[in-house]
Symmetry: C2
Subunit: 325 residues, 2 copies
Amino acid sequence: MSANPISRVRLGSGREFDLIRAFLGDPEGLPAGVEIGPGDDAAVLEGGWVVSTDISVEDVHFRRSWLTDEEIGYRAAAAALSDLAAMAAVPVGVLVSMAAPRGGRINVAEVQGGVGAAAASVGAAVIGGDLSRSPGPLFLDVVVLGRTSRPVSRAGARVGDELWVSGTLGTGAAAIHEWEAGTAPPEAVRARFARPIPRVALARALADAGVPVAMLDLSDGLAGDAGHLAAASGVGIVIEEASVPIDPAARAVLGAEGALEAALHGGEDFEICFAARPGTVEPDAHPVPLTRVGRVVAGEGVHIETASGEIRPAERGGYDHWSPA
Amino acid sequence: MSANPISRVRLGSGREFDLIRAFLGDPEGLPAGVEIGPGDDAAVLEGGWVVSTDISVEDVHFRRSWLTDEEIGYRAAAAALSDLAAMAAVPVGVLVSMAAPRGGRINVAEVQGGVGAAAASVGAAVIGGDLSRSPGPLFLDVVVLGRTSRPVSRAGARVGDELWVSGTLGTGAAAIHEWEAGTAPPEAVRARFARPIPRVALARALADAGVPVAMLDLSDGLAGDAGHLAAASGVGIVIEEASVPIDPAARAVLGAEGALEAALHGGEDFEICFAARPGTVEPDAHPVPLTRVGRVVAGEGVHIETASGEIRPAERGGYDHWSPA
């Protein structure tokens, strides 16, 4: 059992998260040697090792018609490495478990090449894994190992903090929207879906400057992920709608309202989101855009402040994660 | 790049292992902080952390008609934990990634309960994971984390050493044989398939006594796994057929010849196999039977010495891992 209060991390509301909570078990009662357990972006082990795992399943997370085999591996690994960025850890090694259909439909070496390329892009290497055949879809599980002497968990935000995000949002949803409509997405949109950039360097630079007091990566949409940060920190969060940095390419595809909805509830943009004490973020000090999107308030849950100043609770609403017909 | 010679571990011969070699990449050129990489039972990280990952796929590694949902989780986790035993590591934490079909065909909580029970059986706990739906079979990937200050790798055997195995062999193949023939396996056979015992305590006791100089767990059959140990150690191995400890229950199911074939080439018995300097093993000092099954010789590869004293190369021969029709 760890005495570390940040080992007790809570997820936001929602049926999916109820299931994950049940699945992962009680975050309390951690074994000796484990400093942060279930409920954060990654587990943290004594000695500063950070470990996380991320599944990618064909026809759930991607379709083969959208991506090359190399891109399937790249995206799966980048998504997993994004969890290390979320902890401000330095990636070291990757283990990749793959179950691939027989008969040459998938080129296993190409997928693995993509995993290796994503790992190499952040200074890590493949150090192990497992390989099986699959009687169904391609299944990838990427385990990432990184190190940090000072992990940034989801807990640690307090009332009065600012909420920030990196980059721009909505692109992943825009890519899926186009593919599902039978249209090729614009190249800039497609590239961001196929080869997401884990924000490792940015997160490290921010953490070295002591800026983020709570952080995660955006895999459930800004509203959903802010809900996890709020729950873990025991605070509420107000997102200022007009400040949300929408990718112009996503707006061109989805329209203004659709792109905002995608940014708030759409999922896998793999940017980082963090709370910081007021005035501590220097956006010009980093090569990736940083945008203040909201504030930490007393209470709980996530609230959306519209351009007209109205505040409403952030429901997951009409936006569903993509799933094939 | 590690200067540790045991980081350069080689697998035995065979097409499956060629694919795994290509899949896992070059075991040389390990990143800083990684002491043992691809090709051993687990990767070893600076600070004594040991990590491995093991896939279980429905209709490849098991059928749902054979096992309860809880047993599916238990077996998958026990198989993964067996890799920690192979390194003489103490299990600490488990991460479980699962892609499960929708619609209640699989009880996710039951599977997870089995994973947790297997982890608890060796003093570990679930500390993270990922959950997705699957449009096909159930996929499980179990990541295991353990610790040891002195891992026992596959390299380290030298000419003149003895080769030992724990327990008895052939049981897993016997269980599958019965199920595939439409017969319920004897309860003792079924139980060993459903709830294998990772040889963690035994391996720790042996390692504490400094006995095993090279070790792995039996997942590809004694001949195949001895081949990995031989390749990693740069030696040859002679297995003395008459010494191989066959499970009497497996012999009753498969016949003497079939049970021997299963022990040599049949796969997942999850016993440990190790090389030791002559005379250093004290079989009576341990609660699990230990049997000397062969010797380490100059040269390479695995050779079988028959009861009549004839020596032939160990081919993988006619025995195929189970796969559904």
